[in-house]
């Protein structure tokens, strides 16, 4: 029982999340103009993906579970896409 330790996958995931956090803070201070916002959201998406695939175990769950998990994000995409369409296409 004393020999138990978390899997390497969990440690790697945590380390990757910390690296991405350091990266996003560093890049936020670089003058990239509009791309600062894009980069911040892209890194946030990568971090969220790691949490969902490794910590929430979606990487090895059956298709049914993934479908339930994906449904929420699918509807979120519809919300953001249709909701923002008007604003971002207006001059």
């Amino acid at each position: 029982m004393t020999s138990w330790r978390p899997s390497n996958g969990l440690f790697l995931c945590w380390a990757a999340l910390m690296v991405l956090l350091a990266l996003t803070v560093t890049l936020a201070y670089q003058p990239l103009g509009f791309f600062n916002f894009v980069v911040a959201l892209a890194i946030a998406t990568a971090k969220a993906g790691l949490v969902m695939i490794i910590f929430m175990e979606l990487g090895n769950r059956p298709g049914l579970v993934r479908a339930f998990a994906g449904a929420g994000f699918f509807w979120l995409m519809i919300l953001l896409w249709l909701g923002l369409m008007d604003f971002v296409t207006r001059a």
Partner: protein, 214 residues
Amino acid sequence: MSEPGDIAAHLSSPKQRDEVLELGMWTFLSTEILLFGGLVMTYMVYHHADPVSFAEAGRQTRIVIGTINTAVLLTSSFCVAAAIQAGQAGAVRPLKGLLVVAIVLGLIFLGLKGVEYAGEYSDHLVPGVDFAQSGPHAQGIRLFFIFYFLATGLHAIHLLCGIVVLIVFLRCARQVVRRPRYLAGLRTAGLYWHFIDVVWIFLYALIYLPGRSG
């Protein structure tokens, strides 16, 4: 395998019980995604309308506390995921230890958030209570901080609920060796905890990072 009372009467097998728990939590999380998604959409609309004010407001947030809190929450997620692995291995002591660390990290997050709120109050950045900004961007900054307090407040309430849930699982952690239902429940609680983490990852990018390079 499972004791009497380990499965509800309307379920036929432990496998079905575990599936119902997991799918039920994901269904609940879908509604949560849309709750926070609506807030994020309002942020996007106002950010698009007035990016300069939002950059100005983002610069006034406390990025050191925000970054520490992000690391704290990510680490707590690691602890919860590791606690589930410990539970699967039947290692009760590591399971308890990891849950304690996750709970403490959650409390540290809330404590730092309180420090942050106090700082914003003394900076007169709380719309509706004490907001004293002037200049051409005052209105945009006000909108940003309305979003800030709504989103982080809602997130903090979720985190508080998550902490209570983890305390319940900590108190009956010994059940992990004889009741498979415990582990299925803990995994469901873990999904909720990780979801709170995912929400914060996006809030961090939207609140603390804008305007830093300007």
